[in-house]
Subunit: 95 residues, 2 copies
């Protein structure tokens, strides 16, 4: 299992609306092969930042299986109108 | 409940040794009032970065209760020799 962190900076004042859209759009991710679970976080110091922590069965489940699928296009189409900047994505090994 | 994220960039090549020390030092945090749980992550893209995700009962349990206690001094004394830079700490509301 690996964890993806995605920091999404939302256009000023649109984070609440983004969270609503996100709730629905995450179903696209939940149905992906190798998806385990997701937690959504809202910044206290940075209220315009939403952080997703997504557990995947492997790095490739995210970077290849999901990102190279049509699901990724649908996911990004739903959420990208809210981006103030490109999301910052990294991967982690859980100790 | 809130979540603290702490990104710790370790001196080059010392991350494995740091993880060993961290395992013991985290007991200092675990015994703090308001502590819920901790997960330790190691970067895939940045192998010299260790990310701690610590759940606290409240923001103040971390920023006041823990940080203004002698536990914080003991914790930082144990882990700071490994820092290549000051840790980057933020807090999050779990949705």
């Amino acid at each position: 299992m690996i964890m993806e962190t995605a920091y999404i900076t939302v256009s000023p004042g649109r984070a609440d609306e983004f969270e609503e859209v996100l709730r629905g759009a995450l179903d696209i991710v939940r149905e992906a092969e190798g998806f385990i679970d997701v937690h959504v976080h809202r910044g206290i110091e940075r209220p315009d930042v939403v952080m997703l922590a997504i557990a995947w069965e492997s790095l490739e489940a995210h970077t290849v299986g999901f990102r190279e699928s049509s699901r990724f296009t649908a996911w990004r189409t739903a959420i990208s109108p809210f981006f103030a900047a490109p999301p910052e994505v990294e991967h982690w090994i859980l100790r």
